[in-house]
Symmetry: C2
Subunit: 156 residues, 2 copies
DNA sequence: CTATATGCAAAACGTTTGCATCCCT
DNA sequence: AGGGATGCAAACGTTTTGCATATAG
């Protein structure tokens, strides 16, 4: 899903909830769905800084409020993978992926696996639940040297 | 692992790191590992309140500091399952389990599954990583009415 | 024109830290 | 006795909120 499709979907949500499509919301959505920054799962601050580059008047509060709306619209997912900040992940409705995270540098590799999904359903049923959602994060050390310069692999 | 074993293990860790076993640390560990509250994954505040019932002089800071030590000792695991607070899970060294969470009331059912574990290793390798750790949380709706009175199942 | 959104600054929250005092070892 | 631990309160970083102003529909 590219940025303009995300804006379109966001607008559908906004209209149906008596909210307005403002230039800030368009800008934030475009920056959030920027294809060159995919899978980066920005923090609010990172998104704020990127948005500011294009419009220096946007305030923190607008980022927070818009991100909350994007979550409600099903277009963003708050994600506290590590132990620190909240990161937001651009969501494509209907799709789902899990995360493989590099222990050295935090690089996130997204993946999907049918076998896992099937097993999860099975386990949920065994435990007496109907599976609604799930999250899975694998933490690992790269077998090959990691591309990132800041990766700690080998540094300890 | 019962409370007194947890205290023993904690003490081993403390000794080997030139830290001391104080009455507050004993109390906090005992409350944290109280078998009747297992799988509750308390927040700092919840733990603080329970500890206060037994010794009203204990301060917030001591809870935070002790929990951090317990994490370093491998006896507690910080856990940000939902979108809100940090919860801490009593850990038994060498064991690992995943979570099935009731969408209605937040009830956490812990489970282990060998097939999942195997698949995770396989996926990590496929993606070029050596698996170090993982977390998996399933969110579901109970098939049978949930035991908890505050469970929202059916209320929507 | 009206209702909603914005930006700012203040407030609210969870968490950490500095410091004087206390207490394990 | 001495190094570490405690409790308190202040400091911190993130997130939320109140309010006057601006703007989309």
């Amino acid at each position: 899903m590219d940025a303009s499709e995300a804006v379109t979907r966001f607008n559908e949500y906004l209209k149906s909830h008596k909210h307005k499509l403002t230039k800030q919301r368009i800008l934030i959505t475009e920056v959030f769905f920027d294809p060159s920054k995919r899978a980066e799962h920005p923090t609010v601050e990172e998104l704020y800084l990127r948005v500011k580059e294009r419009d220096s008047n946007v305030g923190h509060a607008t980022i927070y409020r818009t991100l909350k709306l994007l979550v409600d619209a099903g277009l963003a997912l708050p994600n506290r993978i590590g132990e620190d900040l909240t990161r937001y992940e651009p969501e494509v409705p209907g799709e789902h992926h899990d995360h493989m995270i590099c222990h050295g540098c935090g690089l996130i590799v997204e993946f999907e696996d049918e076998d896992i999904e099937r097993l999860q359903e099975e386990i949920a049923h065994r435990l007496g639940f109907n599976l609604l959602d799930h999250s899975m994060n694998l933490i690992g050390e790269p077998l090959q040297p990691c591309a990132r310069q800041d990766c700690l692999r080998g540094a300890h």
